[in-house]
């Protein structure tokens, strides 16, 4: 197979004395820049009873700071040609913006201002908490599959903090106070707990000058100690059944896997990333070909693996059943085929195909500067080095069939399995 040409830009980096780490990938295709401030705090850092706190704080951050009145940030960013947005993950709280590079400094000044002086007053708290509850209602509570997935995360992650839903448990949301949000801000929103990821039409030196001008005055702050959330020490095969009205019958199946951060070696880390394409992604993937296309036990199948986490991760398969196939029967067939996959190394053709797909996707992701900045931020908050992104390609190409086999033997095991059988409540009495 002919190797596609490597895109040239690589990632550069610097840090301010206060600990703010900055990454830049120059991309001169358009007069735009994507600038993303990643705070290294997310749902895995939340103590019991305070789930959803990072996400709630994300909602409150632009409700006023020393230079900006409540709501002014989003209006101004829209006027500047950006689309104001923010999101919270298990590992991070993120404020991204893509806009004309000529306006970069204004964004940096606004972001620095909210890092140091967000007001977090009581007045908007109740309203934003209501918005968060409305968000939960539409995204989770009114969506049976999302509810099943939330249940499944609890089962699969067990005592790991990754079990915590990012948006928060309803009871915790009801009990949340403005004081808790302020404490969370004062604990985590510091330059030494943040990464600025920038991709676009700017060089390192001008960026350095702008970042220093606005962020250098913010002092570093001592951070509380924290632990890496790892999988439970004694894993055993777990299963549960959920009956929900309107839930499409199927199964969610997870295996506890290390992340890129917690994998035993760099080679192993990249091997794990090939599993979804080997198993189920694309029409030629083993399980899809067999169970969806040939046997037709399943109507749909998808596998995901999140490589970028501070702690341990999951490989998760989502499957919908064909008519007259029970979730239990579907899970048995899936597990039997995964066991067969585990018995021997994949064929050279299958491995080449999985690598080609993953590598092409990484190239395709270069199309969007926001996606590039996202990948850099995501690696940084997990404690990985985004500068190593340039070596990814060679490492992925070097993965052998035997390494896949070893990873499958080690990780696709019964004790690492968590299964959620999904039943439609209405059809349960048939």
């Amino acid at each position: 197979m002919t190797e596609p040409p490597k895109p040239t830009p690589s990632v550069q980096s610097f840090a301010l004395a206060n600990g703010l780490r900055v990454y830049l990938r120059e991309d001169r295709r358009a007069p735009l820049v994507s600038v993303q401030l990643w705070y290294h705090v997310g749902s895995i850092d939340e103590p019991d009873g305070h789930s959803g706190l990072s996400h709630a704080l994300e909602h409150l951050l632009f409700e006023g700071s020393s230079k900006l009145a409540s709501g002014q940030y989003s209006t101004l960013m829209t006027r500047l040609g950006g689309e104001p947005n923010a999101f919270t993950l298990e590992d991070a709280t993120v404020f991204p913006l893509t806009l004309p590079v000529s306006r970069l400094e204004i964004v940096l000044e606004a972001m620095a201002d909210t890092m140091a002086t967000a007001t977090l007053s009581d007045a908007p708290f109740a309203r934003e908490l209501a918005v968060v509850m409305a968000e939960r209602r539409v995204d989770i509570d009114n969506n049976p599959l999302a509810l099943a997935m939330e249940q499944h995360q609890l089962l699969a992650h067990g005592n790991s903090r990754y079990a915590t839903p990012v948006i928060g448990h309803p009871a915790d949301l009801h009990a949340m106070t403005p004081a808790a949000a302020r404490t969370w801000y004062q604990t985590w929103y510091h330059p030494n707990n943040a990464t600025l990821s920038v991709v676009g039409d700017i060089g390192l030196q001008p960026l350095q000058a702008l970042v220093a001008r606005h962020f250098a005055v913010i002092p570093a702050h001592r951070l509380p100690p924290r632990q890496t959330p790892v999988e439970d020490a004694e894993l055993t095969r777990r299963s549960q059944t959920v009956h929900l009205q309107g839930l499409r019958p199927g199964v969610i199946l997870s295996f506890n896997l290390p992340s890129q951060r917690t994998a035993t070696s760099n080679a192993q880390a990249h091997t794990l990333r090939l599993l979804p394409d080997l198993l189920s992604e694309g029409h030629a993937a083993t399980l899809r070909r067999l169970l969806v296309i040939d046997e037709q036990v399943l109507q749909g199948l998808k596998a995901t693996y999140q490589p970028y986490r501070r702690g341990d991760s999951l490989l998760t398969l989502y499957a919908f059943c064909s008519a007259h196939i029970t979730p239990e029967a579907a899970a048995d067939r899936l597990l039997a085929e995964i066991e067969r996959f585990r018995q021997q190394p994949p064929s050279i053709e299958a491995l080449q195909r999985a690598k080609a797909r993953l590598l092409a996707r990484q190239l395709f992701a270069r199309d969007a500067i926001a996606e590039q900045a996202h990948a850099i931020g995501r690696q940084a908050v997990c404690g990985l080095d985004p500068i190593a992104l340039d070596d990814e390609r060679a490492t992925l190409e070097a993965v052998t069939a035997e390494q896949v086999h070893q990873a499958a033997v080690a990780y696709l095991t019964a004790p690492r399995t968590a299964i959620t059988y999904m039943h439609d409540k209405e059809r349960a009495h048939e």
């Binding site: 197979m1 002919t2 596609p4 040409p5 295709r29 358009a30 007069p31 735009l32 700071s65 020393s66 900006l68 009145a69 002014q72 989003s74 209006t75 101004l76 829209t78 006027r79 500047l80 040609g81 950006g82 689309e83 004309p100 400094e105 204004i106 940096l108 000044e109 606004a110 140091a116 002086t117 967000a118 007001t119 309203r127 934003e128 209501a130 918005v131 409305a134 209602r137 995204d139 509570d141 009114n142 009205q245 309107g246 499409r248 694309g282 029409h283 030629a284 296309i293 037709q296 109507q299 749909g300 064909s322 053709e349 080609a356 797909r357 092409a360 996707r361 395709f364 199309d367 969007a368």
Partner: protein
């Protein structure tokens, strides 16, 4: 640390206290300079091409006038599209998938009322692109439609459509279409039932494909790392391989419907709510831009009137947004939101009143300016990405926009005054024809809680 802060400086205007924004001229915009080439192949396919050399990627979009409104039953159009990668005259489905996936190429399919769209994304290196185009062409031009695969796709489609019909947002949309396009192909139920599908045979698919997937019934968009000469050769190859010489018939005009309210009761945690108006303004009509701006002012983005009324003042919803959906004939303007069951009626009344107010008085100068800036930013971000540019060009080609449409779009918007927008709204929006839909659990209806600001 918060006690050091002085009160927010409301007096600073739109820049607050940001020093770096002083002296900034917001009217100064990055110009859009996307060089769009258009031509027609010998076989009669319209081609739109943009050369983009920044990355070794090529995007190809084939947009056939082969949507669900072009045939009866509508499911025949969906089945034909979904069956394309179930094997061609050259390779069976497994061989085909194996070959194209080894190239890293990605094929996507999408069915709508007006179109069936097939897209290919490939690495531009010749050794990868050439075989990818060849496989993509045989998929579009020479499908085998094997009978066993058809039975499988039918079963998948029935379950897929049933699951979709249960999602409140989709249910609400399909109710709006059913009413606004009653008796018209757009108003036909989109869900496929086993009964309807049973009657469809491979011969039906072959006959439909021979007509609807012909070179003359296609608009092609190519964006990426290739020259115009190379793009011409590629387009020629694809269009020559397709069936020849057929174009979809014109659709009947949209019906005249009157206003109505539809409430569908369904278990759940909240209600999906929708307000739709029929519109009869093609996207290439000069007055369409005024409607686009009004749509932004009313309910696109966090500063829109409805976001302020429902989310920012009362925290009643996570999101409320509207869109204009121009179609081959007619179209609609729809506002969608989600709300707790007791507030369905009161939120509908509020939205309706605010829509009425916008039509009556028009937007303010400041609102128009913000809407122009919002749309300009969005366009700049869109044309900067090959894939999104290809999608946008597919849309504008279907809308029969002129070749310089993207480069003149911002100027066209900026010329509009509040009065002009109001006049167009008053002539083009008929509020007596509005349809209100809600899907979700029933509850005792309550007035909206008092605003906190």
């Amino acid at each position: 640390m918060n006690d050091r802060i002085s009160p927010p400086p409301a007096a600073h205007g739109i820049y607050g206290g940001l020093l770096s924004a002083q002296g900034l001229d917001l009217q100064q915009r990055e110009a859009i300079r996307t060089k769009v080439h258009t031509w027609r192949t010998d076989a009669g396919t319209g081609v739109t091409f943009v050369e983009a050399r920044g990355l070794p990627i090529v995007d190809v979009v084939l947009c056939f006038n082969a949507g669900t409104a072009s045939v009866d039953p509508p499911s025949l159009a969906a089945l034909t599209l979904y069956m394309l990668d179930e094997g061609s005259l050259r390779f069976n489905a497994a061989e085909h998938a194996q070959r194209i996936e080894r190239l890293g190429a990605v094929v996507e399919k999408q069915i709508r009322h007006d179109h069936a769209t097939l897209s290919l994304r490939s690495v531009s290196t010749k050794a990868l692109l050439d075989p990818a185009i060849e496989l993509f062409t045989s998929l579009a031009a020479q499908p085998a439609f094997p009978a066993p695969a058809l039975e499988k796709i039918k079963r998948q489609l029935v379950l897929h459509d049933a699951a979709r019909a249960r999602q409140p947002v989709h249910r609400a949309r399909s109710e709006a279409y059913r009413h606004l396009f009653s008796g018209h192909p757009y108003g036909q139920p989109q869900g496929s039932t086993a009964q309807v599908l049973d009657a469809v045979t491979p011969a039906d698919l072959k006959a439909f494909h021979r007509r609807a997937y012909s070179a003359t019934n296609l608009e092609m968009v190519v964006v990426g790392d290739l020259s115009r000469i190379e793009a011409q050769a590629m387009a020629q190859r694809i269009s020559q391989a397709l069936p020849q010489g057929w174009a979809a018939a014109e659709l009947p005009a949209a019906p005249q419907t009157s206003g109505t309210t539809i409430n569908i009761e369904q278990a759940g945690a909240g209600n999906a709510v929708l307000l739709a108006l029929p519109i009869d303004v093609p996207a290439n009509d000069p007055e369409y831009l005024a409607l686009k701006l009004a749509c932004e002012v009313l309910s696109v983005g966090s500063d829109s009137r409805l976001m302020k009324a429902l989310r920012k003042h009362q925290g009643l919803t996570y999101d409320i947004y509207s869109q204009l959906v121009p179609k081959r004939v007619g179209g609609l303007f729809a506002i969608e939101w989600e709300i707790a069951p007791p507030y369905v009626k009161s939120s509908q009344a509020l939205v309706e009143a605010m829509l009425h107010d916008l039509v009556l008085h028009g937007p303010t100068e400041d609102e128009l300016q913000l809407a122009c800036q919002q749309l300009a930013g969005q366009l700049l971000r869109t044309v900067a990405q090959n894939k999104r540019l290809a999608e946008l060009l597919t849309e504008t080609t279907q809308q029969r926009q002129p070749a310089d449409h993207l480069n003149t779009y911002n100027e066209g918007l900026a010329e509009l005054t509040p009065e002009a927008v109001r006049d167009v709204l008053q002539r083009r929006f008929d509020l007596t024809r509005r349809v209100l839909v809600s899907v979700g659990p029933a509850a005792d209806q309550q007035p909206l809680p008092a605003s906190d600001q």
